[in-house]
Symmetry: C2
Subunit: 406 residues, 2 copies
């Protein structure tokens, strides 16, 4: 008799963005005349850049012609894309990552979720608090979360990061086996310095903890001291997997391309006592349960890494970061305490009064602006509120005009 | 201390197609003048049809323009594609499947692997023998395989299907909870009649077994009695999930689009005793670990479902099936016993002498043709050999000329 995985029933029902969508729908129904500006979900608004568009047109033409048609591609991605990635994102920064440590995929969210298949069942997981909900939910689904009580899952170790500790995650007091880190951080928009990241890497090496490093927002870093890759820190190739995405870098949220770096130096014991390579295991996982990314998409992604396309996407990033500056400075000027927005497209503001859902409701009712209440990202997110810099310039300016006056 | 999933170490090292590639490479190095014809791996050779190409060019243009740009799409696929799928593949055959039972993905192989996340840890799995290796390997990786001994995994139940039983899988003698079925079958190229499939559905309902029905090759069915969908059989919506792919239907092996049907009527107890809906669980899995298929790809897939594109892809399928006829009739004429190739692009021939790897080596050495030895698909595949109809017409004719003479 078939029995379903019971751990799904431990997931909390109201996924943050569904709850937001519901509240916005209720408000919009009651106020059909309201011109709502959305600065909640982190989706981009600028189109793909011309170099990417041209490359994809050429690839579509190739697919229509027997001589240049592409069937199954290499499971881990075409060499043309893997080498473009290695050159642009690693070699140019003096980091030694080889092509066979790079696995091209259709999304960092997929990889961040699927990577758990490499863990033994009893691995204990630590996450930052506030946290991108996917790290937590995927672990709950596989039984690593446990019951939910008092705003937290009992088996998960939370590392609070708030203004009180300068947004540097507190090291776990209990044993953990896996640690999720995200820098530049979603939702706080804050980064670590190399020295701060080094402390975490040293802790991981000492305790044989595997770090899952999500740097989906690295393209937004403006300050020189913030590391773009965890591999800029000595020792990280012995303890860390890195996830990168073209979603926010090149506007690929609807085009789907990302990659994961699994260094060959990552070797651990498995649950039967064999010494295993995580690079080989991930390769086997990808080859068995995935069939590669669309050829057309990979040609588009390649174009974003070559000189012309790269210049174009840097222009788009600069444009979003100008939105971030406008939001940060506007809110500061009228007395809000704001964090982030310097090396990330997210602004994390302290909510006057503390209650972040109350602030959400008030901002929507008074100014017709949608943001994301910090409480939705975990207990340490209460008292904060996230705004994104991904709206159009016009909407960003209008939103700030409403909140802060002329 | 991080510990890796030990079950990966139970996987057998030599993945079938890697072993084939290795033997071909050795032969090619020793005989650089040999003109090798590949009829091994099931990849297509014909380009995407014109209607799909036009639709993708239009979609690329939309992505380059702020007004028509698409960011994150709906997790389960755009309604334009889900409704095209429902109309073409189900309503047109009188099958009642609704749009919210269809989940668009980037590949049937991904879905077939990932669907296991909905199973409790102790589910017992049955597969056909010979079998598409992915069904087995993905279960081994999650601990449902057990140790490998005497050509089989100890925890997996094998259902032999050979000429002795007319390629109808033998019902399991032991308790099973999940049953993988693939029709038209890979590798045998054989199909079941509706009545034969009904016997399996009745068994599943009686024993509360969940059927995973892979019909990636349904577009190749030529005979009216072979069901295209398991839902043509009464009761199947109470016991079956169906996987479909555009890879072999529309030549999307390098473009990546597929879908999975999870009926809302699939309700089971979970491991904590709650009654759960597999449709809701799969929806949660997809929303948490996946971000949808590229907008461009989905517009291409839609075009393959609308009238013009559909006519074009039927033409391509007919062309491959003419290859299948040529292979089947040529081999029969010179005395081979052949199966399949009538409702599927695979020909399954009895190897003279029995040993399928010996036949592989001989065919490569004598005629410079690559096929797939049946033993690679499981114990019941020994004594058989698979050839595919996906080569070009010219190569198919040349291969048959070499084997069968003029």
């Amino acid at each position: 008799m078939f029995t379903a995985n019971g751990y799904y029933s431990q997931l909390q029902g109201n996924y943050l963005f569904s709850e937001i969508a519901k509240r916005v729908a209720v408000f919009a129904a009651a106020h059909p005349e309201a011109d709502i500006i959305r600065m909640g979900i982190g989706d981009v608004t600028r189109p793909l850049v011309p170099a990417v568009i041209s490359a994809m047109h050429r690839a579509v033409d190739e697919m229509g012609c027997a001589e240049t048609f592409h069937g199954y591609g290499p499971d881990f991605g075409y060499d043309f894309l893997r080498s473009a990635i290695v050159n642009r994102d690693y070699r140019s920064r003096g980091i030694d990552i080889s092509m066979d440590e790079v696995f091209v995929s259709d999304g960092a969210k997929c990889d961040v979720g699927n990577i758990q298949e490499l863990f033994s069942a009893d691995c204990r997981v630590a996450v930052m608090d506030p946290v991108y909900p996917v790290y937590v939910d995927t672990n709950v689904m596989s039984g690593r979360g446990g019951r939910f009580a008092n705003g937290a899952y009992e088996k998960i170790v939370y590392m609070p990061a708030s203004a009180d500790n300068g947004f540097v995650p507190e090291l776990p007091k209990d044993r953990v086996d896996v640690m999720y880190l995200c820098f530049p951080n979603n939702p706080t928009g804050m980064t670590l310095s190399r020295a701060q990241l080094k402390t975490l890497v040293d802790y991981a090496i000492k305790n044989r903890v595997l770090i899952l490093y999500d740097s989906a927002y690295e393209a937004y870093i403006q300050e020189p001291d913030a590391p773009h890759s965890i591999y800029e820190v000595e020792g990280a190739k012995e303890c860390a997997i890195e996830f990168r995405s073209m979603s926010k870098t090149a506007g690929f949220t609807g085009t789907r391309c990302a990659y994961t770096v699994v260094p060959k130096t990552l070797r651990y014991a498995d649950s039967f006592g064999n010494e295993v390579s995580l690079n080989a295991m991930w390769g086997r996982r990808v080859a068995t349960k995935f069939n590669g990314v669309s050829y057309i998409t990979q040609r588009g992604a390649e174009a974003a890494y070559l000189d012309e396309g790269y210049r174009e996407i840097l222009g788009v990033v600069a444009d979003y970061m100008e939105n971030a500056r406008i939001i940060r400075e506007s809110l500061s000027r009228v007395g809000y305490t704001v964090y982030g927005g310097v090396n990330a497209p997210y602004i994390w503001l302290k909510t006057p009064g503390g209650d972040s859902w109350a602030f959400f409701d008030e901002l929507l009712a008074t100014h017709h602006i949608v943001g994301t209440p910090g409480a939705g990202f975990g207990r340490a997110g209460e008292g904060y509120f996230r705004m994104t810099a991904f709206a159009t310039r016009e909407n960003t300016l209008r939103a700030m005009q409403r909140v802060c006056g002329g």
